[in-house]
């Protein structure tokens, strides 16, 4: 097997057209045949129709009898006319044939036991059937089962009712909801073409039944029996007799044609051909002339004149055609030129497009005015351009005034103007401190001592007075020390340690001191501690 991948293909419709042509020809033949058959079997068709009508009537009668029997069995014999009337009305309204309605009605009547309720429910069932697309029998089956407590069928109809609603078993509520949902489905369907066709079909079927009833009555009289089978048999026999009769007539006509008419026609045809040959009859049947035209000079001249005239007419037509072609070409050219001009014109539209695009962006009012003015000038809108130019002038003036006002504004106060001075002062102070510190570094203070006393030990990290007294070499020692003392005042704290009680070891002492320092720190005195922030 060769695998082929088509790269370039072309549709060749010729064959298809040929086939179409043959089909059309076949269709024509078939139609002709149909016509012949129709003519031949017209009588048979009439008989067939009569037979169908009688059968339809019989079926109708049978279904009516079945319903009557059902009602009779349910002790509702008196309701039969009302039921038939309701079914007839329903057929009229819904275009559903009574043969379908009767079994459905009987089914509903069996469960509801009332003609009016059954007919109302049947009406609703037809609406649901149209609305859901399910058959009437299915819908009626689902409804009757639901009345009997089996709601599965109703659920399967997908009517739009919820499972909870259906399972509630409240048939009145269910029927009301269904009615509200599907009311008008029949009317809508009958308004469509399909619905109208259906209605027509039902009417035809009804008419057929009526004709069937008439035929039945007539045949009953003819056959002398009311038994439909006997009548049908007799009708068939009658039809066969008619077909035989028609066939015999056709055979007779054919025989007559073959033996008499055909030889006569053949003879006439031969005579006609002979007359044509000798020139008595011209070949063109439209201008039959008796006599020989070939030897007539006047006729020849007339023929030549005709030919000349025809040639002139042809030349004129050709000329006209050429002129028309020329005009068409000129028109086409003009159209193309117009298109070109239009295309060129669109290039200028780019300016407009750009302006519109710019107007979409974030721009100031003045820019917007400028763009709008430009646009108005481009499109040639003079009034709008005038208005916009005025607005632009105003805007520019306003802008200029604003610029002037800004220029005349006094110098704004600088909140940071004094900062350099402050920084300088701070530097000076720091320098002072530095110098004081360097002076203090010369003095070596006596190490602080912790002198436990009873009951309180005083730990004084401060410089003792004696040490201060020994700093005579420092320039202005009093001032420096006093300043330094003041500066570090916050760091100092007096720690009171009670040696008695819980302080019985070095560790206890250290802990107590640490805790005291932390307390002091918490109360505002600065304390150096490695763990000050964690509190442990």
């Amino acid at each position: 097997m060769t695998i082929t991948y088509d790269i370039v293909t072309e549709y060749k419709g010729k064959g298809t057209k040929d086939a179409e042509k043959s089909l059309l020809s076949l269709d024509g033949t078939a139609k002709k045949l149909a016509k012949t058959i129709t003519k031949t079997f017209a009588a048979y068709q009439i008989i067939k129709f009569g037979k169908s009508a009688a059968t339809a009537f019989a079926q109708d009668q049978a279904s009516a009898a079945s319903l009557a029997n059902t009602l009779k069995n349910l002790n509702a014999q008196l309701s039969i006319p009302a039921a038939e009337s309701a079914i007839a009305q329903l057929q009229q309204m819904t275009a559903v044939v009574d043969d379908e309605l009767r079994p459905a009605f009987a089914q509903l009547f069996r469960i509801l036991g009332s003609v009016s309720e059954a007919s109302t429910t049947l009406g609703l069932a037809t609406e649901i059937s149209r609305g859901t697309g399910e058959s009437l029998a299915t819908v009626v089956d689902a409804i009757t089962k639901a009345y009997a407590g089996n709601t599965r069928g109703l659920l399967a109809l997908n009517t739009g009712l919820t499972k909870a609603e259906i399972n509630s078993g409240d048939m009145q509520m269910i029927m009301e909801k269904l009615n509200s949902m599907f009311a008008g489905s029949n009317a809508a369907y009958l308004d469509t073409y399909a619905g109208k066709m259906q209605a027509l079909s039902v009417t035809t079927s009804d008419a057929m039944e009526k004709i069937g009833a008439g035929i039945f009555d007539a045949l009953s009289i003819l056959a002398g029996s009311t038994d439909i089978e006997v009548i049908q048999q007799k009708v068939t026999n009658f039809a066969n007799s008619i077909v035989t009769f028609i066939t015999t007539i056709a055979k007779f006509i054919r025989m007559t044609y073959d033996s008499t008419i055909k030889p006569l026609l053949d003879g006439l045809s031969k005579v006609y051909d002979f007359l044509q040959k000798i020139g008595v009859i011209k070949k063109d049947m439209g201008t039959v002339s008796w006599g020989n035209v070939y030897g007539d000079p006047a006729a020849q001249a007339a023929a030549a004149a005709d030919k000349k005239l025809a040639a002139q007419r042809l030349a004129q037509e050709k000329k006209l055609q050429a002129e028309q072609n020329k005009t068409a070409a000129a028109k086409l050219k003009a159209e193309r030129d117009a298109q070109k001009i239009k295309k060129a014109g669109t290039l200028f539209d780019i300016d407009q497009i750009q302006i519109v695009a710019a107007l979409q962006g974030k721009i100031s009012n003045e820019e917007k005015l400028r763009l709008q003015l430009q646009f108005a000038l481009l499109v040639g809108n003079a009034s709008e351009a005038d208005r916009l130019s005025n607005e632009l002038a105003k805007s520019q003036l306003a802008t200029t005034d604003l610029a002037k006002a800004i220029a005349q504004l006094p110098a704004a106060l600088n909140p940071f103007a004094s900062y350099p001075q402050w920084i300088q002062d701070a530097i000076n102070e720091i320098n002072k401190l530095k110098s004081a510190q360097s002076s203090a570094m010369v003095y070596t203070p006596t190490p602080s001592t912790v002198t436990p006393s009873t009951p309180v030990a005083t730990v004084s990290p401060s410089v003792s007075t004696a040490a201060l007294a020994a700093s005579a070499a420092i320039a202005n020692p009093q001032t420096s020390l006093a300043g330094y003392s003041a500066y570090r005042a916050g760091e100092r704290a007096t720690v009171n340690v009670t040696v008695q009680g819980n302080v019985i070891s070095n560790k206890d002492l250290a802990d107590t001191i640490r805790m005291q320092l932390l307390d002091s720190s918490a109360s505002g005195s600065f304390t150096m501690s490695n763990r000050a922030t964690r509190g442990d």
Partner: protein, 203 residues
Amino acid sequence: MGVKVSGLIETRKALRKLAPDLFKEMNKEIGAAMRVVVRDARGMVQPSVNGLYNWQDTGTLVKSRSSRDRAFPKYNSNIIKKGLTYSLGKTKKNKSGFVTLYSLLNKSAAGSIIETAGRLNFNGDPRSQSNNRNAGAHFNRSIQSTYGGFASVGKGRYDQGRLMAKAIDRNEGKAQDAIFKAIDKATKAFYARTSKTGASKAA
């Protein structure tokens, strides 16, 4: 998958009749474009298929076991390569009324098998009543492992293949473009010639 055109049959006919040199030139260019695809497809053909060593053609005569006309074809890479080719001839009209003017072909039986095996039922025919139901699946998987999956050149299932279809897919329509260029070129040249000399003297 093919590109559908109209009027090409008549154009070709006119070229063949009135300007055979242009027709030849056009076919030469089209053939060159199609040979690119064919060469690519031939390059994909493997000397053997993994796991199907009994399928390999060893030169011995194989007879059909099911009394058919011919036996199941053996795998022969040379025959497969030979079968991968192209056609510039017009085909008969198919039932839809289309005529193929330029086509790429996979002619050999084994090549066709490589091209299409498993396209319908990759895992074997579910309706198979064979004693070895997995044979089909094994065969397809072996081919797949050697040649890779299908490449698609159209929307339909029958537009898939492993050799020529893959080559067409890889070609990305370059061959088609070249074909149209060649046709266009020949047609323009033909028109230019006829406008100067008249159709009867175009040759």
